[in-house]
């Protein structure tokens, strides 16, 4: 298997946490490859290791052993500053609790990562406006998070995740905090972005709505891959 053909590859990854005097294997020998343009979910019960896998792929955490490649970059060789750089340029995050920066408007939240990348103001403006339009937030650019509904906030989070044109968007329980109607519309949006713009999505969820929409379902149990299926 050529690592460069995949956006993400994990090879025999183990992540062990120390809880008191006991070692807990949150991820236990996972090997996994995510293809470019995939729309995949990691599902499984709470505590199965879904979020830990997502954190390892996102470079938010480092494996105890094994290796993780994202867009051809071996994360295990990078220090914290280099990992920040990989996250900034290649990965988009969508969190369960939106995690927008409260003092920034929708526009500024989406623009924030482009600023970190050093993108020019004119290009930033063009990309942010196009992205906000794509996620259905045209006209709401100047609203702050506390002036928006949960669904709108999650759309801003999605805009922030995709505005940098990342190699992959990692979404951790993105529909957990919204009602089912909003969840469906968010999923419609992400599916549309996947289809039309070819953005790769990897979800961590136990929401059946998300699982039903996924092209690929990877079931995690006790830190291991229990099954890996492609849906028709």
């Amino acid at each position: 298997m050529n690592k460069n053909e995949h956006i993400v590859q994990m090879q025999s990854v183990i992540k062990t946490y120390r809880q008191g005097k006991v070692d807990v294997h949150a991820v236990n020998g996972v090997s996994l490859a995510i293809e470019n343009g995939d729309f995949a979910v990691l599902c499984g019960p709470s505590g199965s290791g879904k979020t830990s896998i997502l954190n390892l792929i996102g470079g938010l955490d480092v494996p105890s052993s094994g290796r993780v490649w994202v867009d051809g970059v071996d994360l295990s060789t990078l220090d914290s500053t280099q990992l920040s750089s990989v996250r900034k340029d290649r990965i988009g995050f969508v969190f369960q609790a939106y995690n927008l920066i409260p003092v920034m408007t929708a526009y500024e939240n989406a623009e924030f990562v482009l600023n970190l990348q050093g993108v020019s103001e004119a290009e930033s403006r063009e990309r942010v406006m196009a992205t906000l339009k794509a996620v259905g937030l045209e006209g709401l650019e100047h609203r702050r998070p506390d002036e928006m509904s949960g669904g709108q906030q999650q759309r801003v989070a999605i805009a922030r995740a995709i505005v940098t044109r990342p190699a992959i968007v990692l979404a951790d329980e993105p529909t957990a905090n919204v009602d089912s109607h909003t969840a469906e519309s968010l999923l419609d949006l992400m599916q549309q972005l996947n289809r039309e713009q070819g953005i790769t999505f990897l979800f961590s969820t136990h929401d059946q709505h998300v699982i039903d929409r996924a092209r690929r379902i990877i079931t995690i149990h006790d830190g291991k891959i229990e099954s890996d299926e492609i849906q028709a």
Binding site: L60, S80, T81, S84, R87, G92, N99, E111, V113
Partner: protein, 412 residues
Amino acid sequence: MNLNKLAWRNIWRRKRRTLITAFSIGFGVMLAVTFTGSGDYTYTNMIDTGASMGMGHVTVEPVGYHLKPTLDKRLHGVEMLREKIVALEGVSDATVRITGQAMFASARKSVGGAFIAVDPAFESEENNLLIRSIVEGSVFSDRAGRGIVIGSRLAKKLQVKIGKKVVYTTTDAEGEIVSNIARVTGIFTTGENTIDGIMALLPIASVQKTLSYAPDEATVIAVVIKDQRHAEGMRDKVAALPEAEAADVLTWKESQPDLAAVIAFDKAGNYISQLLVGLLIAVGILNTMLMSVLERTREFGVMMAVGMSPKVLFKLVMVESFWLSIVGLILGIIITTPWYYFLYNYGIDFSGAFGTDFSYGGVLVDPVFKARLFKESMMAILGTLFMLALLAGLYPAWRAGRVPPVESLKTI
């Protein structure tokens, strides 16, 4: 959005907390201005008063005179040197004087004391504390006459009044005992008991004649400068004059070491108390910034997750400290300006508590608590408080970037 804008918005998330911290910085500015301004005013006053008591801010005297002040040591060509000194930039006045010990005797009593022989044409209330403090009669007008101005306590000891005769006895240039007679033309009261009890002013030409000095010989040229802080520079300028080659040129610190020591000691105490106030303010800022960082741990985790590096996060918190300091300093200037205006123009009169004759370090101190802040003191206050505020932000800033994003994201 750039870091500055983000930091500015962040500090106003908790308006009340930011304002309380900013006011504590502002209060620090007020305290520092009050104490430093009072120090600048009082020390300048003491130094200027000390200078007008005889020796000037810069003193030109015979070699070794300040270690062993005997009248056989004397300067030559004093008038030419005085003229050269007066022509120097920054010199306000220069006067030729003879200082020495003498025994004063009246018809009833004899008292040991000291004299300053002066030329009345060059002496005034501005440059001579004793003339400024005359309470009876006036200063003699003839430099070669037989007038004498004495301290009120000395007059009391000698039991003399205006118009009465006083005989002064001293040793001349050859070490011989010589004496002359003078008539009291004025009595001064400085409020400093030692000065009022031993000092007398005599006409310089009479004293030169009595001591067998040539007309251009004296023991001291007292140089009064416009700004006492430049005494060292002026000493070097005067010492560089060819006419001063065979003389000692001293600053007031060297000619009045007791006064210099008192001021240095007082300044040190002042600095320590101000440093403690500064540290208290720094702890307040540290607390504010740390609280602000700890309550945003998750947000910082998100920022790092989307690509902000620990270095940029450190910078963000430091920029927040910067803005907090700036707001505090601006508030400080706003609340301190009217207070300083009051202290500068009116001050607080403590004469009721201490009397008008309050002396410290051998010189008289104004009983009115006033403030005059030097420009460099103001810069030092603002700079020090600003630096303290930034230093207080260092730990929270370091702390912000230390927590791994995966841990930060777990916090609620």
